[in-house]
Structure formats: structure tokens, C-alpha cells
């Protein structure tokens, strides 16, 4: 949910709550004021009747006395305060059950104490006003919410603009990029704090990343020369007179060194690929490349007695750098041969949308999902360094192709699904 929607929703609840209370207050106040106004009117009527009594003349026919009952009280006693009585009763003139207000005042005229009780029926808001009041409040509510929704869009767009700019900046930011993260300054303090924090954090991350990248590249490169030197010395040593035992030791050293070299090479390649920026729209004739690679590996396959079946239609163009595509195919083909059994089979099938490479062989011992990780081997017995598939995966990802692997009924199946090219090959 968008931030301003949450605000709007919260505001709607608050408004509803406040308006409801307001409605209750207004309703109560209105009811009270109607009664009060009636009492006021009755007090006035009582004054008029009291005036008539004081005058001593007979006003019994006067309309003012129609609703006033005059009662003579026995003892004058102390002056009594007026009393108000409100109750529901049947009103004959209105033919309805209504609220009737009675006001009784007391006065003494020429030694005689009188009680004047006037009454009036009150039409309460409960009946007619209520619906009207509800409507007024409902419309107010609707109008307010509509206004809030519209304004919150406009205002939040304006206020959150720097925030959204920051979000886009984060989205576009890549650790490997040379420039700093793109952030706009704003008048809002919180956003500026956030931006400052982000800028600081990304700069540090970039610096660390750069350092790490340089370190791994340099380390791999710097290792090559000493290894080369050691290998050269070993080779010179091999040419001298040595016992068989010494030769065996030398071989072991040489093999280990070889292994070190391969690991180092692969890691350098992988590091290189992590920071390789692919050039879009470079297409390579994949059909040709697959056939050529197959030919290169044909003798290796033959020695293992493998039979290769291939379905490679000509002219399949795939988005790739040629050298990288070659590395990828080499890894896939050498895997297909290495993880095969004697007199096994390899199936190569190329279509315009995918390359499927299947080979017979033993089931992998590691979980299938982990095989694309580094130093994960499907078969621990084989003398491989277990980094080939990581390289394959990285190269595929560079160009948006998808690589998948599964194993079923004695067949390893690697499928490389080509990404649909953004633009047609020209």
C-alpha cells in the first residue's frame, strides 16, 4: 500500500470518529436547546399570567391563560423556586405521545400564594432532525475524504518527490559503477538525513567492493608468476638424473601445482566475468560454434567410446560474445564427457530457442540445485575443480539466458534457454 493511502486511511478513521462525536454533541445540544427555549417561552407566559393576577382584574378568558393552570396555595410560606417537569405523555391536541414541558412558578398576590403551571409540547429532534443531521454529517464526511484523497495525491507527490528520487537512485545503483549514487537534496530534514546516510553507505560499499575486486584480481595475477617460476624449476629438475621415487614426488608436486593453476585461472575468469559488462546486440552463429566445439571434443569422446548424436540446424543466432560462448560450450562439453560412462551417449540438440545437452552417467551425489555453486561437485571421485558450472551460469546470466540442469533415469540434462533478443538480429 502506498504511503499516502495509509495516511488517507488513517485520516478517514480519525475523521469518522471525530464526526461521530461531533454528531452526538450536536444532537444532545440541539435537544437541550429546544427544551431550554420552550422553558424560556413558558417563563414568559407565566410572567404574563402573573401580571394579570397582580392587576386584580378577571383575565380568565384571555388566551394567555389557556395553557396555564392557576392554583391557590394554602400557606404563603417562604418563596419557592420554580420547578421544571419534563415527561412524555399523551397530548390530546396533537393526538400523539409527545414530550411535554411543565414550568411551575410561584408568586404571592395580596397575601394569597399562587402556583402557575404552564405546559407546552416539544417536538424533539429525535424524529425529524435526526435524519437531516445524519445526512449533513455524512455528506461532510464524504466531502472531506474526497478532498483528502485528492490532496494527499497532490501533496504527497510533491512532498515525497525527493524520496521517490532517492528510491530510483537506489534502484539504479550498482556496486560496480564508477560514479556515486544519484540523490537529489530536499527541504525535508528526514530525507536529507536518509540521503546523507545512503551516500555515505554506498560510497563505503563501493570503496570496499573496489578494494576487494582489485585485491582478488591482483592476487590471482600475482600468483601466476611465482607458480610459473616453480613449474619451470620443476620441469628443469625433471630433466636431470633422478630416482624413480624422486620423480614420483616431483610428479605429485607438479600435479598439485597444475591444480592450483587451474583453480586460479577459473577464479580469475569468474572474477573477470563478475565485472564484465556485456555489449548488447552482439550475435554469434551458435550453430557453427556448437558444431566446431563438438569437433574439438570429438577425439576425447571417441577415446571414451562415447557416441554423439547431434541435431544442429544451421543459422541459429544467439546473443553472446563469441569468446564467452566458447568458454561456456567448452565447459558444457567437457562436463558431458567427463561425467559420462564408458561407451555412453551424448545428445546435442539445438533449436532457435534452446540448447539441450544430454549425456549418460552416474547420478550426481550433491543436490542438483547446488551444482551451479562454486566448488560443488556432482561426483567427488572425479578430479575436477568444480567451478565450471559456476562459470557457465555466470556467462548465461550476463546475456539473460537461463541455464537449468536435471538428472533423470541415467541421463544428465543441461538446458540453456536463450533469452528472447530485445531487438531482432540485423
Amino acid at each position: 500500500m502506498k504511503l499516502n493511502y495509509r495516511y488517507t486511511l488513517a485520516y478517514a478513521f480519525i475523521t469518522f470518529f471525530v464526526l461521530s462525536i461531533g454528531f452526538a454533541i450536536v444532537y444532545a445540544a440541539l435537544s437541550r436547546s429546544v427544551t431550554q427555549a420552550t422553558i424560556g417561552q413558558l417563563a414568559h407566559l407565566n410572567e404574563v399570567v402573573a401580571g394579570q393576577l397582580r392587576s386584580g382584574r378577571d383575565y380568565s378568558a384571555h388566551p394567555a391563560q389557556a395553557n396555564v393552570r392557576i392554583s391557590r396555595l394554602a400557606a404563603p410560606g417562604p418563596p419557592l423556586a420554580r420547578t421544571v417537569q419534563v415527561r412524555y405523555e399523551w397530548d390530546a391536541t396533537l393526538q400523539a405521545q409527545v414530550e411535554v414541558v411543565r414550568l411551575t412558578t410561584y408568586l404571592v398576590v395580596r397575601g394569597q400564594a399562587y402556583g402557575l403551571t404552564s405546559k407546552a409540547a416539544v417536538v424533539k429532534p429525535a424524529d425529524t432532525y435526526f435524519t437531516g443531521l445524519v445526512l449533513v454529517f455524512a455528506w461532510t464526511f464524504v466531502f472531506l475524504i474526497a478532498l483528502v484523497i485528492i490532496l494527499s495525491e497532490v501533496i504527497s507527490w510533491h512532498i515525497l518527490k525527493p524520496f521517490n528520487t532517492t528510491l530510483r537512485g537506489i534502484e539504479l545503483f550498482q556496486l560496480g559503477q564508477k560514479s556515486n549514487i544519484a540523490l537529489a537534496s530536499s527541504r525535508t530534514r528526514e530525507f536529507n538525513v536518509l540521503n546523507e546516510f545512503l551516500a555515505k553507505m554506498t560510497t563505503r560499499a563501493q570503496r570496499d567492493y573496489q578494494g576487494l575486486k582489485e585485491f582478488s584480481e591482483n592476487a590471482s595475477h600475482e600468483l601466476q608468476t611465482p607458480i610459473a617460476s616453480m613449474k619451470a624449476k620443476l620441469e628443469l629438475l625433471m630433466d636431470s638424473e633422478l630416482s624413480e621415487k624422486q620423480l614420483t614426488w616431483l610428479t605429485t608436486m607438479h600435479d598439485e601445482l597444475e591444480r592450483l593453476t587451474k583453480i586460479n585461472h577459473s577464479l580469475t575468469l569468474l572474477a573477470r566475468l563478475e565485472h564484465y559488462e556485456s555489449r548488447p546486440n552482439t550475435f554469434v552463429n551458435f550453430s557453427q560454434l556448437v558444431s566446431a566445439t563438438e569437433a574439438t571434443f570429438a577425439d576425447l569422446a571417441e577415446m571414451k567410446g562415447l557416441s554423439i548424436r547431434q541435431q544442429v540446424p544451421p543459422g541459429v543466432q544467439v546473443l553472446f560474445d563469441e569468446s564467452l560462448a566458447q568458454v561456456l560450450l567448452n565447459n558444457l562439453f567437457s562436463n558431458a564427457i567427463r561425467h559420462n560412462q564408458l561407451a555412453g551417449e551424448i545428445n546435442i540438440e539445438l533449436t532457435p530457442t534452446a540448447l539441450v545437452l544430454q549425456n549418460t552417467g552416474q547420478a550426481p551425489t550433491a543436490p542438483v540445485a547446488e551444482l551451479f555453486g562454486r566448488f560443488k561437485k556432482g561426483n567427488a571421485a572425479l578430479d575436477s575443480i568444480g567451478i565450471g558450472l559456476a562459470i557457465v551460469k555466470r556467462i548465461s546470466e550476463l546475456y539473460g539466458h537461463r541455464i537449468s540442469y536435471d538428472y533423470a533415469e541415467g541421463w544428465h540434462r543441461v538446458q540453456l534457454t536463450f533469452a528472447a533478443p530485445a531487438e531482432e538480429a540485423s
Binding site: 590471482s220 608468476t225 610459473a228 624449476k233 630433466d239 614420483t248 573477470r272 576425447l300 560474445d321 575436477s384
Partner: protein, 227 residues
């Protein structure tokens, strides 16, 4: 043959030099960019082996300068950068070949020989060892005039053996030569065994001697010692 080795790692340089001394090549060493520049201006070399990372400069710059000055030497880059780097960045432009560290010394030797042959067409295209004759253009190998039915890999294996005769050749070095960068397969060394076996058989079938001796557990020697 005269070789200039531009390499700042002195131990590696020493090993390379001692290897080539056995081949009766003259091999001079320059450990810095400046020294290499000076030597290239003063003397003439057949081959320059060029490291890229030098303490006072970049080998690529030296390569460009040499090409500008019309230095006629063949230039082979020896670098810690791997082959893909060269392909992706065009680092090797102007060089005759490049070889990635660490490399087997016989491989370097084979590359130098191949380049020298390419650059001097007046030289014979025939490589001869005793009764074996290899035509480097048509890639045909004969024993006493009789054509050997070799595959492409076997031919290049035979040439590699002849070029490095008398040397201890490890299976890894042979595998690297035959399959190059194609394979990071460590088990490809087993295939070397197969190739050597086939080659031996074809040579003896054609009436030749078995010149390839196995050094137990290590590799092979194309034996010139008991000639």
C-alpha cells in the same frame, strides 16, 4: 637464435634462460621496461618474450613502441592474464602469439619454433628426425618415405615431441599443447596416454622405432639420448 626475455621475476627468467641455453639459443634478459627498450634499440633479436606487468611500465606499451619502430622481432606475450582477457580486450594486438602463465617450458619452446618457421618462409618446411620426416605445410608425416596414417592430434603430438626431443615432457604439458585453452579438464591427461599409445603403434606398424619412452608416472621423452 637470439631471444630477448623481458620478465621482472628473476627466478622465472633464470629458469627460462637455462632451458633455452640447453637448446643452444642465446637468451638475454631485461627486467625492466627501460632496459628492454634500450636493448631493443641497440640489438636485433629473433624473438622477444614479453611480460605485460613490468615494474616501470606496461609490456603492451613496449609492444606498440616496438611495432612503431619497425622492430622485426617476433613478439610473444607471456602474461598472467588469461586467454579470455586477451580476446575480450584485444590486448594481444600486434603480438605474434601469447602464452598464459604458468606455462610448460616445452610449450613456450614449441610456440617459438612455430613462429620462427612462419616468419622465415625460405626455411624448409620439413622437420626431420632420423627416419621420420614431417611436412609442416601439408601436415604429413612419413617414415622412410612411407606415409603415417595419423590424425590431426597425433600429428601435432609427434611434432611437439620432435621439437622437444630429449626433454622430459609431462602429460599436463602435452595436454595443454594438444587441447590448449579448450580444456580445464584435469582428466584430459588420461587422453594423452591414449594418443601416445596410438602414435607409438602407428610408428612401429610403419616399421619405425619406438622413440617415445615413458617416464614412469610423469610423462614422456622423445629420446635423442641414445641416438
Amino acid at each position: 637464435m637470439k631471444i630477448l626475455l623481458v620478465e621482472d621475476h628473476s627466478e622465472l627468467a633464470k629458469s627460462i634462460v637455462s632451458y633455452f641455453v640447453q637448446e643452444h639459443y642465446i637468451c638475454e634478459v631485461a627486467t625492466t621496461f627501460a632496459k628492454a627498450r634500450e636493448k631493443l634499440e641497440l640489438f636485433k633479436y629473433d624473438v622477444v618474450l614479453l611480460d605485460i606487468m613490468l615494474p616501470d611500465g606496461n609490456g603492451i606499451d613496449l609492444l606498440k613502441l616496438a611495432r612503431q619502430d619497425k622492430v622485426e622481432s617476433s613478439i610473444i606475450i607471456i602474461s598472467a592474464h588469461n586467454a579470455l582477457d586477451f580476446k575480450l580486450t584485444g590486448l594481444s594486438e600486434g603480438a605474434d602469439d601469447y602464452i598464459t602463465k604458468p606455462f610448460p617450458l616445452p610449450e613456450l619452446h614449441a610456440r617459438i619454433k612455430a613462429i620462427m618457421r612462419r616468419r622465415s618462409p625460405q626455411q624448409t618446411n620439413l622437420l626431420t628426425y632420423k627416419d621420420i620426416t614431417a611436412n609442416l605445410e601439408s601436415m604429413e608425416c612419413r617414415i622412410n618415405g612411407k606415409l603415417l596414417p595419423l590424425t590431426r592430434k597425433e600429428t601435432s603430438l609427434l611434432l611437439y615431441l620432435i621439437n622437444n626431443k630429449g626433454r622430459m615432457l609431462t602429460r599436463q604439458a602435452i595436454a595443454a599443447h594438444l587441447w590448449g585453452d579448450y580444456t580445464d579438464n584435469l582428466d584430459s591427461v588420461d587422453f594423452v596416454y591414449q594418443h601416445v599409445k596410438n602414435l607409438r603403434k602407428k610408428i612401429t606398424d610403419a616399421g619405425g622405432q619406438n622413440y617415445i619412452s615413458t617416464v614412469y608416472g610423469l610423462g614422456y621423452k622423445f629420446d635423442a639420448a641414445d641416438a
